[in-house]
């Protein structure tokens, strides 16, 4: 077996013990573990901690049940040596080689397992600039990898991975990004309307708000279907995240700040996808470090 590990990642003592058992099944090409954030201190690290709990933990475990794992996290993964030889190793020209090799494993029929009880600790960006450059590399690399391996979409031979996960996941990202853009547009339109309204009353926002509070009737019936459609992903996300935290033995109280902020993570997430799509389309070079 060959393990890959980031320079800023630390393995827990019993990780290798827990992982090795998965290789008894001959078709297992790689095993991944849960990636956790080491001592998150600032606001960004706490949000990323929540993201890793879900995205590099709970969701990967769920996907492993359907044999839909689409990456072998670069922070730490273990590969069967003969599988790496069969695949001719990593693509050295790819900036997300951990994702790219997972696609080739799926195409060759190898399975990727996830051991949630084993974990490693890694360092994450603690400022917006490093976060931006990290994600720009990740998402641009992912788009390039998808374009390179676009034959996985609706590929029956790849089972759930080709017929379900790839179309649903990336179709969902595209739809989500379009909805995000339309939300931005509608919000901007509403803000513009209210600027016009308040300009007509000399921007007496406080006076108007006081009047509204004193005279308005709060009527929950006057909530349109769009509010429900907008709020329901928040509610579902919150419920799933809460369940996942409990299942993984995390303290909800300690994760509370990250939990709440993570519900709004779709804002930078969708913004970054749009930027990265532009970067890829414009064929700009994406470096490992900026």
């Amino acid at each position: 077996m060959i393990a890959t590990i980031d320079a800023d990642t630390v393995i827990e003592g019993d990780t290798l013990e827990k992982v090795c058992g998965y290789f008894r099944e001959e078709d297992i090409g790689a095993v991944i573990v849960r990636v956790r954030v080491k001592n998150p201190s600032n606001w960004l690290e706490k949000i990323i901690e929540m993201e890793y709990n879900m995205g590099l933990g709970f969701y990967l475990k769920l996907l492993s049940f359907l044999n839909c794992l689409y990456l072998t996290p670069g922070q730490f993964s273990i590969y069967r040596k003969r599988v790496l030889e069969d695949l001719d190793g990593f693509d050295v020209n790819n900036i997300v080689e951990d994702t790219e090799i997972a696609y080739r494993m799926q195409k060759k029929g190898y399975r990727i397992a996830c051991c949630l009880s084993a974990y490693v600790y890694t360092k994450v960006p603690n400022n917006v600039r490093s976060f931006y450059y990290q994600r720009r590399r990740w998402y641009s690399g992912t788009i390039q990898t998808i374009l390179k391996h676009r034959d996985v979409f609706f590929n029956r031979e790849l089972g759930n991975f080709g017929m379900f996960f790839m179309p649903v996941n990336y179709g969902g990202i595209i739809i989500g990004t379009l909805l995000f853009l339309s939300t931005i547009y509608l919000t901007a339109q509403t803000v513009y309307d209210y600027i016009i309204y308040y300009s007509l009353i000399n921007f007496d926002i406080i006076g108007s708000t006081v009047n509204i509070i004193q005279t308005a009737e709060i009527d929950p019936l006057m909530i349109s279907i769009f509010y429900f459609l907008g709020i329901s992903p928040f509610i579902m996300n919150a419920l799933i995240n809460f369940y996942a935290l409990r299942k993984m033995g995390e303290s909800f109280r300690e994760s509370f700040f990250g939990f709440i902020c993570f519900l709004f993570f779709f804002i930078p997430y969708n913004t970054l996808w749009i930027i990265c799509a532009y970067v890829v389309v414009r064929n700009k070079q994406i470096k490992w470090r900026e």
Binding site: L158, N160, M163, N202, E217, M222, S224
Partner: protein, 242 residues
């Protein structure tokens, strides 16, 4: 060849569909309740109008007897103020309904209830005018005409300013809003009487001021026709001199 776990995929699809269907049904139920709330308030107003019409005829009869004029004027004033509050709240509710229902221009319920409301407002307006005449009641009446909402997204922006002013000086003014897109003959007749040439248009004490007006302009207009509490000293002096 890897297996497609069809059972799981179908279960996921059914769950997703169930969520969307639940939201749709919840909205349908709430829409029904919204309409019921508006209809029941409208029914209350129609019933109140019966009472007011009776009081009005009584007032007409009592007007002949000078010594009873003050009492009947007081009663009439109280009834009209009470009803005006209800009309205003119902108008707000119908507006909220309009905002929630995106396609309000073709929404039958909105068109029907707004038409009912406009008719009641016209009756209320005529009673107020009569009362002003007979009871020397000093009260500014504003008629607000708006429309062309299919071509002009800002068709009801004037309403925002009038709502703001009404919230400041509610007991001193009465505002009646009329949607010209409904094509009601009574509303069209009213617009013609007061020479409404452009939308939006406000009519204050029989004089039409068409086009969009901001807060300062509307305050100025009101102060020309009456001494309301938001008028500055300068505006009162200007009004008196004209």
């Amino acid at each position: 060849m890897a297996r497609v776990d069809l059972k799981t995929i179908i279960q996921a699809a059914i769950l997703t569909l169930a969520i969307f269907v639940s939201i749709y049904f919840l909205n349908t139920i709430m829409e029904g309740k919204r309409e019921k709330t508006i209809t029941s308030r409208m029914d209350e107003i129609i019933s109140d109008f019966g009472e007011i019409e009776t009081t009005y005829y009584l007032m007409e009869y009592m007007q002949e007897k000078r010594e009873l004029r003050n009492n009947t004027c007081q009663v009439m004033r109280k009834e009209l103020e009470y009803l005006e509050g209800k009309l205003w709240k119902l108008d707000m509710k119908i507006r909220d309904y309009r905002q929630v229902t995106k396609d309000f221009m073709n929404d039958e319920f909105y068109i029907r209830e707004k038409a009912h409301l406009n008719r009641r407002e016209i009756i209320h307006f005529t009673m107020l005018e009569r009362m002003k005449e007979k009871c020397n009641y000093r009260h500014l009446i504003i008629l607000y005409f708006y429309g062309e909402c299919d071509v002009n997204k800002q068709c009801d922006d004037q309403g925002f300013v009038l709502t703001y002013i009404n919230q400041q000086i509610d007991p001193e003014i009465s505002i009646f809003s009329f949607d010209m897109d409904l094509g009601l003959s009574s509303v069209n007749a009213l617009a013609e009487i007061y020479n409404v040439t452009e939308l939006p248009c406000i009519v204050v004490e029989g004089k039409a001021y068409c086009g969009m007006h901001n807060r300062a302009e509307i305050t100025d207009i009101l102060c020309r026709h009456g001494n309301v509490s938001i008028c500055s000293g300068e505006q009162i002096i200007n009004a008196e001199s004209t």
